[in-house]
Amino acid sequence: MIRVAVQPSAIDVAAELDLHDAGGHGATASFIGRVRGEGDLVELFLDHHPALTGAGMGELAHRAADRWNLAALTLIHRVGSMAPGDTIVLVLASSPHRAEALAACEFLIDRLKTDVMLWKRERFADGRAAWVEPREGDHGRAERWD
């Protein structure tokens, strides 16, 4: 459960991170959300509005870029049908200053949970399927930023 290393060799991370790389300077905070398999979930379906969902994410990204000194910013959200373990959302925020990268990343993931036009439907092993209701906790976290 815990991996600790002190190593003289290069640390190798990857893929989207390489794409995102801001010239290799400063700090990158990231958040990866995966579909959880709680309660025998077999499928998560995310409905989206092609224009509104993209516009909402774009606005969110620009607000973060206005608020913090960011060298690079990546927001990727998956939609459609997903299985437990699948990556559903990726946030990457880079800044010369770690506090800004961390704050921007946290702001973005909190806001993605409330502001972006997405609707979740869960399907379980016994065949039940239900659309997820908005969660109060998410709104509480998102409002910290106002």
Binding site: L46, L52, V116, L118, W119, K120, R121, P134, R135
Partner: protein, 85 residues
């Protein structure tokens, strides 16, 4: 006047379609009256729009309150409150 309607999440499921083009009757001038008209139109509409307070709307890609006029709009999207990412 023809208006494109699009539905999302359980609104879409209850309507049984993702979009349609409708001719609005006189008196349907804002989101609230559009929702009331759809609820009264047929059984699918009654199921989808039984609780107007749970319906959100966007007019041509912009979020719109129940009182928002749908005057020259091309598209109205109707959906439940978002559940986020």
């Amino acid at each position: 006047m023809a208006l494109n309607l699009s539905y999302f999440a359980w609104v879409r499921e209850r309507m049984g379609i993702a979009e349609e083009s409708v001719a609005l009757p006189a008196g349907v001038t804002d989101i609230a009256s559009l929702v009331a008209w759809l609820a009264a139109r047929d059984e699918r509409g009654a199921r989808a729009f039984a609780q107007p307070e749970r319906i959100r709307a966007a007019i041509d890609g912009n979020m719109a309150a129940p009182g928002a006029a749908i005057g020259g709009a091309r598209e109205v999207a109707l959906f439940p409150p978002v559940t986020g990412g």
